[in-house]
Symmetry: C2
Subunit: 225 residues, 2 copies
C-alpha cells in the first residue's frame, strides 16, 4: 500500500508548549533551563517528541500533564515550525501549542523535578531554538481569542475579583484598560456571575468575587471585552 511512501524521508516531530499561568497575580510562563545539548544551558519552552501512538494534540497534552500533573487543560495549536536549521541537534519539526492553566491546581514538584520554572511573562529571557518566534505567534493568537472568547478565565482561580481579571487582560493585551468600560463589558457577558462572596485579602474594602458559568456561556456565547 505504502511503497511510494517508503521512498520518502521521515522527520523527528516534537511539540512545544507555551504554558501560561497566573503566579501570584502575574502572568507567567513555564520554561526549562536545558540540561543537555543541543542548546544546553539555554532557556526553552517545554516540549517533547511525538510518540507513534499519539496524535499531535495528545502529545501536547501528555507533555503538559507530565510537567504540571494537569489534564483537561485548554490548549490550542499555534502552528508548525519547520525551518531546516531550527534545531542545531538534528532536523526536528515542531508543532507549537499554548496552554492556559489554573496555577493553583498544578503540581509544583513535577515542575521542579523537570528542571522547569515559572518566569514572569514580562521578563522572558532569550530562548533557544526558534522559541521566541513561537511566543510571538502565540501572543498574536492569544490576544485575538482573549477579547472574543472567555479563555482568559481559564487562567484565573475559580473565584476571582474583577481587578484580577482586568489586570490579566491588561498584561495579555499589552495596554491599560479603562476600569468602568471593562466592568461594563463583564456585566454584558452574563457568563461571569457574582458568587456573593467577598475577597478581603487584596483590599481593605473587600472586592466581590465572581465565577465563570460555563452553562450560561454555552447558551448565549456572548463574550466581548
Amino acid at each position: 500500500m505504502s511503497e511510494f511512501y517508503k521512498s520518502n524521508h521521515r522527520y523527528y516531530l516534537s511539540v512545544d508548549c507555551v504554558v501560561l499561568g497566573l503566579n501570584s497575580g502575574r502572568l507567567s510562563i513555564l520554561l526549562t533551563k536545558r540540561a543537555f545539548a543541543p542548546e544546553e544551558g539555554k532557556w526553552s519552552l517545554i516540549g517533547g517528541f511525538v510518540q507513534p501512538e499519539e496524535s499531535l494534540n495528545q502529545a501536547a497534552k501528555r507533555v503538559l500533564t507530565q510537567l504540571t500533573g494537569l489534564s483537561n487543560v485548554y490548549m490550542e495549536q499555534v502552528g508548525a515550525f519547520g525551518e531546516i536549521d531550527r534545531d542545531p541537534g538534528d532536523r526536528v519539526i515542531s508543532v507549537a501549542y499554548y496552554a492556559l492553566i489554573n496555577f493553583d491546581e498544578h503540581d509544583r514538584r513535577k515542575v521542579m523535578s523537570h528542571n522547569a520554572c515559572w518566569v514572569d511573562f514580562a521578563d522572558i529571557p532569550e530562548l533557544g531554538f526558534d522559541h521566541s518566534s513561537i511566543i510571538t505567534h502565540t501572543l498574536k493568537k492569544l490576544r485575538f481569542r482573549f477579547v472574543n472568547e472567555p479563555i482568559g478565565l481559564k487562567l484565573l482561580p475559580r473565584q476571582f475579583t474583577l481587578s484580577q481579571m482586568q489586570s490579566l487582560y491588561e498584561t495579555v493585551l499589552g495596554h491599560r484598560l479603562d476600569k468602568r468600560n471593562f466592568r461594563k463589558r463583564v456585566q454584558e457577558a452574563k457568563c461571569i456571575e457574582s458568587t456573593g462572596e467577598v475577597d478581603k485579602l487584596n483590599s481593605k474594602r473587600g472586592a466581590a468575587l465572581y465565577r465563570f458559568n460555563a452553562e450560561i456561556y454555552e447558551k448565549d456565547k456572548k463574550f466581548k471585552i
Copy 2:
C-alpha cells in the same frame, strides 16, 4: 550530539495546499483525483512530501510551483494535522497551507499533467483524508484576513472592476454585501486606485478598472472591508 534524538520515532511529513483562484469570476479550488492508493479515486488537495533540504514553507511553495508554474505566491500556513489515522496508507503528519493565485497567470498544462483540475468552490466534492477539515480551517482564517488585509486582491487580475471584487468577497465571506457600503470601504482604502481604464466586457455601460497599489498600502496599512 543527537544520541537522544535517535531513540525517537520519525514521521512522514507532507504539505497540503488549498490553492484558490478565480476561474471566470468564480472562486475555484485546485483538486486532484487521486490515481493511486491510498484514497485512490477520491478527490484531494494537492500536496507532497517534505524533502530534507527544504523548510515547510519551501515545500509548500515547491508543490505549488510544480502544479501551477507560479512562484512568489501569497501563502499562509493553516496548521498541522496529525491525527494518527488521518492517512490510511501510513502515518503522515500534514502541514496545510493556502495559496491565493492569479488564475490568468498560471500554467494550465502543468495542472492537467498532474491530474488536477479546478473545481468551483461552492461545489467541492467529498474529499479524502482529513482534507475537508483542512478546508474548513482555511476558510476561517481566510475570512478573517480578507476583511482586514488586502489579500483578496491577489486573486483578482491586475485590473479589476469593483463588481468583480465585491463578488469575490461575497463568495469568500459567504453572504451578500451592500454595494454602496462596499464601495465606500474601497474608497477609504487608498491602496485601491482607479486606473482610468474601462472594462466593457461584462457590462454594456462599462465599469471602471481599479488596481492595487502596494506602495500606498505599505505606507498606511489601511484596509477594512
